[in-house]
């Protein structure tokens, strides 16, 4: 190469760079062939990902056990799967039976709203090097999953279906920097826009500055036209900090999202919402205050002390 081959190497480098720039241009101009190539790749990869999920699960659990010392990851995974199945059943019934009472807080999310949901397993997580927050689930168009459908976990809003393939779908998580959802504050009904921030903390921008928000206020999804991409009433998160800088046009706040995104195992995709808007019915119950016993001490002066 050193003996006269440098010119050929440079020519090759230029051809490759021009090819990549050509691809970027085509993609940015919205040429559908490239989307088809990506979709085809995902269809090919889906069986490998399913097989990999099964093979890797013991190692993943081991890593999870190390990360979450004191917890049994396998048991948590089973409980999550059980919760999701029960929640899907409850969504098709109006009256939950008594056996589901212990899971009421989770199951009410879909049951009270009357959502028609389909459960799915998370089979792959996006690489950190992509700087986006996505997961792949094991159901797709063959199960009725379409683009821009709401994805839930037991705790609340997980994200939205970004792409749907035959037997898998790509879900953009609520933590993705590109993620935006219209929300309202339960109770006061103030509306705002929640944006993902790359972690479990998201930022809220209220649309007016008339009312005051406070830490602990619960945010619910406002819903979209024809319930896509978002069905109304889903718990999104709770306000953890309020930006009270003077002179700002609209209030902003930091929001702690409800779901545990690092431990997503089973999720549900909302196929259709109920006829009625659930309003504030899905607001999670706050922690019950523990009664503190009070002790009253009575003192009486001793007779010897008063004699002195």
């Amino acid at each position: 190469m050193r003996n006269g081959g440098e010119g050929r190497t440079r020519l090759l480098l230029i051809i490759l760079i021009v090819t990549s720039l050509f691809l970027i241009t085509l993609d940015l101009r919205g040429v559908k062939i490239l989307d088809g190539v990506r979709g085809g790749t995902q269809n090919v990869l889906a069986p490998f990902q399913k097989a990999g999920s099964t093979v890797v699960s013991p190692f993943r659990n081991f890593i999870g056990d190390i990360t979450n010392l004191g917890r049994t990851s396998d048991q948590i995974e089973k409980l999550k799967e059980s919760n999701a199945k029960l929640r899907a059943r409850l969504a098709q019934r109006k009256n939950a039976d008594a056996e589901l009472a212990q899971l009421k807080s989770v199951l009410d999310l879909a049951g009270q709203a009357g959502y028609k949901v389909v459960a799915a397993r998370v089979i792959s997580q996006g690489a950190s090097t992509s700087f986006s927050q996505t997961v792949t689930i094991d159901i797709g168009t063959s199960s009725g999953v379409r683009q821009n459908m709401t994805v839930l976990s037991g705790e609340g809003l997980v994200g939205v279906v970004k792409e749907s393939y035959a037997n898998s779908a790509l879900v953009m998580l609520a933590t993705d920097p590109d993620f935006k959802v219209g929300v309202r504050i339960a109770g006061s009904q103030q509306i705002g826009i929640l944006s993902g921030g790359g972690s479990k903390r998201a930022s809220l921008q209220l649309l007016d500055n008339q009312n005051v928000v406070k830490v602990g206020d619960v945010l619910l999804a406002r819903g979209s036209t024809n319930n896509r991409p978002f069905v109304p009433g889903i718990p999104v998160g709770v306000i953890s900090a309020v930006d009270s800088s003077a002179g700002s046009i609209a209030q902003s706040a930091t929001v702690m999202l409800y779901p545990n995104f690092s431990g997503l195992g089973v999720v549900s995709v909302v196929l259709s919402a109920g006829k009625n808007n659930p309003g504030d019915a899905l607001v999670p119950a706050g922690p019950q205050p523990t009664p503190v016993p009070t002790v009253t001490i009575y003192t009486t002066p001793s007779p010897t002390a008063s004699a002195k």
Partner: protein, 173 residues
Amino acid sequence: MLLRQFSISSLIFILVFIIQESVINQLRLPAGGFSLILLIALTWAALSNPTAGALTGFISGVLMDLSQSSSGPMGHWTLIMILACYAVAFLGSGNDNVRGTPVTNIFLVSFACVVTLTAFVIIGLLLGMSAGSFSKILITIFSNGIWALLVTPLILPLITRLHVVVLGDQARI
């Protein structure tokens, strides 16, 4: 790089891509884990001449662009990987200090990994990609650098042998 060598290299990288998508991404490693295909491509390039390096970058970049989790437009990773692998191959080509010492090679690949990710973010921001907060980007890049330092010593012997088999005795580690 003959057509036969190019084809075999492509098959190897397709296999690595499948492992990345179906195994590595499922492990949910601490701090976001690492990109196996990125590390193997850089290691492969460090053992190659610039021509093979650029082609390696092209193959691996196209595959990384095909990943569903890729946030940039098609061709984004291809562009970055062509430049990164060419640069790594150029640095390693004819320099015995780089190619002859495993430790130097490991540091070269880890440093290249950090630079590649940084370039990916910068080009991505120019193309309108959202990459999250500055601190999140820093943590991701830094943790990938740490993972590269840990993983590269494990894959280097295997990649060196594969490289010798596919491209001939160009590697001397």
